[in-house]
């Protein structure tokens, strides 16, 4: 049979879909693929050049010198340690938090109360880090903020030994707590949606079998949303070398730099502020390669262990 004859005729819906998908492809081509040309900078001596395009095309090749440079740089060591450690801690605390929150919200009977809680917890997500971070800085100011008096009242600090919450020793805790405040409500939306899609018959059957609410959550809800959890877990693992740039940049100061300098802020500073374009490109490439490796590895492990993966 002639293949032309069996080809389906395009409908206007198909064209609409193609255009919409095409826009995404164009977006990716422009903003994700085309800039990859800049990866060449990582292997060239293009630091401090004014003309970036000229640096990519004309600067001399320098092999892996930029990679060696950052591997020997003590600032990089600090940044990578901070990035990995903090992401590991956040994987343990911040990743399950929205899941737990979604499970708890799911158990709330009063619709009005449920909506109120969801609105309140979602709201911080819509405040930019610039404003949110500014509020945090103002509230934790040792001299004029309200946290020190509260901590004094609770016996956690004293007038004689005040605590500087903006110091290095509290930075990770500040990041984790502020991320939770800002992200738990919003992060739980996808899990709440996944839970609402679960078959209600299973809950009824479990009730008939005498399962309590905790047992239903553990044996029905959690396994039901496991595919969603897996996807987000794998994405979180692949983002092990990334952090919320805005959050870190806003909360960073000269006192907490030893704990607040992470790869994203370090790349930004060396690349855009100091014009060490090649050095920053090498760092960025290193970051991307490690992320891809982590994604593939975690996907592989997940598939082996649970039979689920994202590709």
């Amino acid at each position: 049979m002639d293949s032309k004859k069996i080809r389906k005729k395009w409908t206007s819906r198909d064209v609409t879909l193609l255009v919409m998908a095409g826009l995404s492809v164009v977006f990716l081509l422009i903003f994700a693929y085309a800039p990859m040309f800049g990866v060449l900078l990582a292997f060239k001596d293009g630091d401090y050049k004014l003309n970036l395009l000229g640096a990519i095309t004309d600067a001399p090749w320098c092999g892996f010198d930029n990679f060696k440079a950052f591997l020997l740089d003590p600032n990089f060591a600090d940044a990578i340690v901070n990035t990995i450690c903090l992401n590991l801690i956040m994987l343990v605390i911040n990743f399950p938090a929205p899941i737990l929150f979604a499970l708890l919200i799911n158990e709330v009977r009063s619709a009005r109360y449920k909506k109120t809680v969801q609105t309140i917890t979602n709201f911080p997500h819509f405040i930019s880090w610039v404003i949110f971070g500014g509020l945090v800085i103002a509230l934790t100011d040792m001299s004029t903020g309200i946290f020190n008096p509260i901590m004094n009242a609770l016996g956690l600090s004293s007038e004689e030994n005040p605590v500087n919450l903006q110091g290095a020793e509290y930075f990770w805790a500040t990041v984790i707590i502020t991320s939770l405040i800002k992200g738990v409500g919003w992060g739980s939306i996808v899990y709440i949606a996944a839970i609402s899609g679960l078959d209600a018959d299973m809950y009824e059957a479990a009730e008939l079998d005498g399962a309590n609410r905790l047992q239903k959550a553990i044996y029905i809800t959690l396994p039901g949303i496991a595919p969603t959890i897996t996807v987000f877990l794998l994405l979180s693992i692949s983002g092990m070398l990334s952090n919320s740039f805005d959050q870190f940049y806003i909360l960073q100061n000269s006192l907490n730099l030893s704990r607040s300098e992470v790869l994203t802020t370090y790349i930004y500073k060396t690349g855009l502020s100091q014009r060490r374009y090649s050095y920053a490109s090498a760092l960025g490439l290193f970051n991307s390669v490690v992320s891809v490796v982590l994604l593939i590895l975690s996907n592989f492990i997940s598939k082996r262990a649970t039979g689920r993966g994202i590709f």
């Binding site: 492809v25 164009v26 081509l29 800039p35 040309f37 003309n51 000269s254």
Partner: protein, 614 residues
Amino acid sequence: MKKRTLIFLLIAVMALSGALAGCGGGQQELVYPDYPQASTDTESWEQWEDYDPTHITIDWYVDYSSFNWAGAESSIVSDMIEEKTGIKINFMKPVTDDGTMLNTLIAGGKLPDVITVLANGAERVQLAEEGYIYPINELSKRWAPNFMGRIDAEISRYFNASDGQLYGIPSHFYTTKDNESYEAQGHELLSNGAIVARKDYLEAYIAYKKSQDASWTDVQATTPEGFVEMCKWVKSNYGLSNTNPTVCLAPFETTNTLTGNKAINWLMEYFNVMPEDAEGNYTYQYEDERFLEMMLFLNELYSENLIISNNFTTSTSQVGSYIQNGLPFVCVLSPQDYAGNFKEWTLKNPSAEYVPILLTNKDGEVPQLRSLAGNGYRFSMITANCKRPDRVIKLFDYLWSEEGQRLLYYGVEGVTYTYTEADETYPYGKMEWTQEVKDAFNNNTHGAYGMLNSFVMLTNPMFVNLTQEQGYPFNNYTSYVNYNLKAALSEYVYNHQILEFPLNTTDEQYGDMITLRSRLYQLWIEYIPKIVMAKDQAASEAMYREGLDYADKYGYKSLTNWMNEAYLKYKSDLGVQFGYPVNDASSGYKDLKITSIFGDASKYVSVPDDIVKQ
């Protein structure tokens, strides 16, 4: 199939080209448009309508986040600029001072018509040397033939690029001619930074000490030991808590890699940390033993909870808020940056106003504070992207002229000021505000006029000083408060301009050395809090040594040697042996004495009755 592949490839290539086009404009050939040349018969700006009477708008990027000219959009000043030159200026500025916006504009090939950058930044030289900027000489030759004659030879000498061309105009360049005129008027320049203290606490302490020991003098509180004792007494006597910034240093901003920390810079002057050795060589101040002494002093203040750790996390606005609420007993900063905050506090608590004080190193050496006089602060340049360089050079010519300077500071003659012709004492003439403006100052509505030096990019502050009878622009209550925060220390102020020597921009090491200098500043910005907050003096010194070791690894010695070559050459050109008065036997430094912690209190200027305190 082939067709589809072709379309896909075409899209990909277009996308790639588009993206790369946004990644860099490439080095540009300087093109001089074919507009008619200006004549020398009249001023260049008076000729702008001759061949093109259309008004244009230009973009002007000021690489300074705090830049704020209230009258930019519409004021008698901006209107007059447009009337005189046919140009309306659209100003742009960054959100932060970390250089990212400027670098992005450069890398993206999106430099606007005019840019203003730091005069001592590496970009100024690199942009000019790589063809991104029009040379002023060439533009003025064509379209503003009198302009170069207005630019003092010292400016050209200082800023000329390797090709002998001048690529921009500095603000705040204090010429020898102006300095001499100012001295001839009998005025002294103020210091740039200062240590200021709350007068009520200070007087209470002095009274207490005298009640304990009649022979005690307040000079004893100027030594590091006496200073610590005084701060401890104030803290204890007034119940200042450990969260109170009893001694408040200027903020430590992590992105400030061009100048280091201001509090440290000013303290180095009080502690006489030598910028030049006895033989006249340029030194690396961080390796001076006096610097270590100063750091140990700060460590002691921290150990006594006089400096609090919060000081290393505060921003300029937070420090301003502390001052406005009178929280610190002592501040080490540039008082002019907080003039509004000091004013607010003084308004509410006149008896507790902040006053300048003296502090010395442990040997009691008289401090030497650098004056406000400098060799340029901002540098304005016309970029190769400028659409109408023929018109913009006329704008520069106008703003730089005496007429333009009068406009920028005083507004419009007859409306906001009256003008008395120049004479020997007042080389730029003498100006006095009209009653309308005096009333506006008192009503706090003067901002609408758009003058008062807010247009900082092309201003000469000495023009303002030299046109005022008192040698200082006393306009409103804030200006009096600001002046009195430093005036009493003027005896200890020296002209620092020799130490602001031009670096050898033609040297192939220039770029590397400027980068190294920034890295070293950044290193100390990170180390200083650690040194100050070390658990004891031994740990503090160990931390200092560690920082110095890193500085050594970075190469501070090669930087110092490189800078010393430029320094010695500059001094040789000027025919001077020393740039630091302490080393110069003829400077009169040895005759200087400290007679009071307040300096020379007779220099205070009382606020006249017709100035409303608001």
